[in-house]
């Protein structure tokens, strides 16, 4: 097996007396879309936050591209190629959709201490940003303030931001949360199109989406990995069926 893009080694995290992540180890292989599923409170978002650096683990290591990044703050991890989306949409509401994405392009380009020249008119920033917006179908909405986009469009905007970062790994924290059936289908199509370009970790409750997209699935219960494998293996695993999937498997 090739060197994994991401390796989590014996992560542990508790909030007060509550153990949320309990000796968790996990690997993400190059190019794969690795879904993480589990009931509410299983520690999925905490896990994503530890990978992206918003929360530091109490114990264990996060190894990204062969490099130990456990001690790095979030901005340094992002600069190293780790992009993420948020369960609760996290965009810059006062910026236009284009500006949101252009800022991601700018982050990658460095030279953000430049104080002269109008950033809004820089082709170097706008062209890649428009391309990313076009890919998620937001091209015609580029100049709208992000706050005025519909919920599904905001979700797509987050994807465009991630695309513009050209990440080495993308963490998606429930990208379908709160979207309607049609929008979900559209987002699944979008992700299917992006899939393979870079590895992704997908946390999602929508099982249809997960089984449609994932190369591998890890099932998280009480902060531990209960099972890990291909969708077929996970589907067939009696432990998983008993603990979590239950009637959804019928």
């Amino acid at each position: 097996m090739p060197e994994p893009v991401l390796r989590l080694e014996h992560l542990r995290k508790s909030f007060g007396g509550l153990l949320v992540i309990d000796d968790l180890s996990l690997e993400v292989a190059p190019g794969e879309l690795h879904a993480i599923i589990g009931p509410n409170g299983a520690g999925k978002t905490t896990l994503i936050n530890q990978i992206s650096g918003l929360i530091s683990p109490d114990a264990g290591r996060v190894v990204f591209g062969g490099r130990d990044i456990t001690a790095l703050p979030a901005h340094a991890r992002a600069a190293a190629g780790l992009a993420r989306s948020f369960q609760v949409t996290s965009i810059l509401p006062g910026f236009s959709a284009l500006e949101n994405v252009a800022l991601a392009v700018q982050a990658r380009s460095g030279s953000s201490l430049r104080m002269f020249g109008r950033a809004a008119e820089e082709e170097e920033l706008n062209a890649p940003a428009l391309a990313a917006l076009g890919e998620v179908g937001l091209g015609p909405r580029a100049d709208l303030p992000a706050a005025q986009l519909s919920h599904g469009e905001k979700r797509a905007l987050e994807l465009a931001i991630a695309l513009a970062m050209a990440p080495k790994l993308l963490l998606l924290d429930e990208p379908m949360a709160g979207t309607g059936r049609e929008e979900t289908a559209r987002l699944v199509e979008l992700l299917r199109g992006i899939k393979g370009r870079f590895p992704m970790v997908l946390v999602e409750h929508d099982m249809t989406a997960v089984f449609a997209l994932a190369d591998r699935i890890s099932v998280l219960i009480y902060g531990r990995v209960l099972a890990s494998g291909t969708p077929q293996e996970v589907r067939a695993d009696p432990k998983v069926a008993a603990a979590y999937l239950g009637d959804e498997m019928e």
């Binding site: 953000s112 201490l113 104080m115």
Partner: protein, 329 residues
Amino acid sequence: MAKAAPIETRAAPAVAHAGVAVPGLIFGVLAALPAAAVLAPENYLLALGTRIMTFAIAAVALDLIVGYGALVSFGHAAFIGLGAYAVGILAAHGIGELLISLPSALVASVLFALATGAVSLRTRGVYFIMITLAFGQMIFFTASSLAPYGGDDGLTIASRNILLGLPIFKDPRVLYYLVFAALAGTFFLCRAIVGSRFGRVLCGAKENPTRMATLGFEVYRFQLVAYAISGALCGLAGFLLANANDFVSPAYMSWQRSGELIIMVLLGGIGTLYGAIIGAAAYLLIAEFLSQWTEYWQVIFGPFLVLVVLFGRGGLVGLFSQIARKRHA
């Protein structure tokens, strides 16, 4: 046919090009003021205009970090004081050369901004307000205890700064235009900054710091640089104030002064830069005329401020644009 209700779109600071008409009008009026100065005795208008523009520099500098970075500094008068004291202390030692005193004023302000910003910017919201206030008070009491330089009473400056032997600040008209140039320079510098890549990061950090971090920006670094620039520009204002008043005192850096700067920014309209100039002018003019009329002018001024903030969201600039929009409708 019913017209669709206009959607309230407050242009984001990042996209708002601060207009051309309003700043043009402001600088036009300021440039023409000396021509009208003959109408009032003893250069009264010139002195008032110089004073307004000096505080406008500080207000624009404060708006850079408050309006575009949501960093509400309640200690910005400290930088005015540092700039002014640089002039005063050097003058007390017989050094009146601008090429020494101006860089001293700027360097002192930047160093103080970097040192205090490095600590303050670790905090957010109300804690940031309180800690900047604390640092401001620290400088205030330090100045008050500087016995060799007048302590509480302040320090009279025997002669204004000279540039390579030329007494450039001597003529009130020349002084006026030098301050005018400094204000214009400050305004256009800040406007360039907010529209630049750097300004975008600053605005982004105001909107959503977590998002900015996960994009790969270390927002703290950008905020510190902005804080230092803002401090340096207030130091410039202090430098000019000392030269215009021939006097420096700890009162320049009292917390009331810091509060006045915030009020100027709010009164004019936050996050527009030119609003800060309007705010400084409105504040100082209203204070000037009301205080001539009655000793208790603050009783009138206080409620007026509350009304502007309540009804003119976006200060005077916001109020005017609301009125203009109603007329169009």
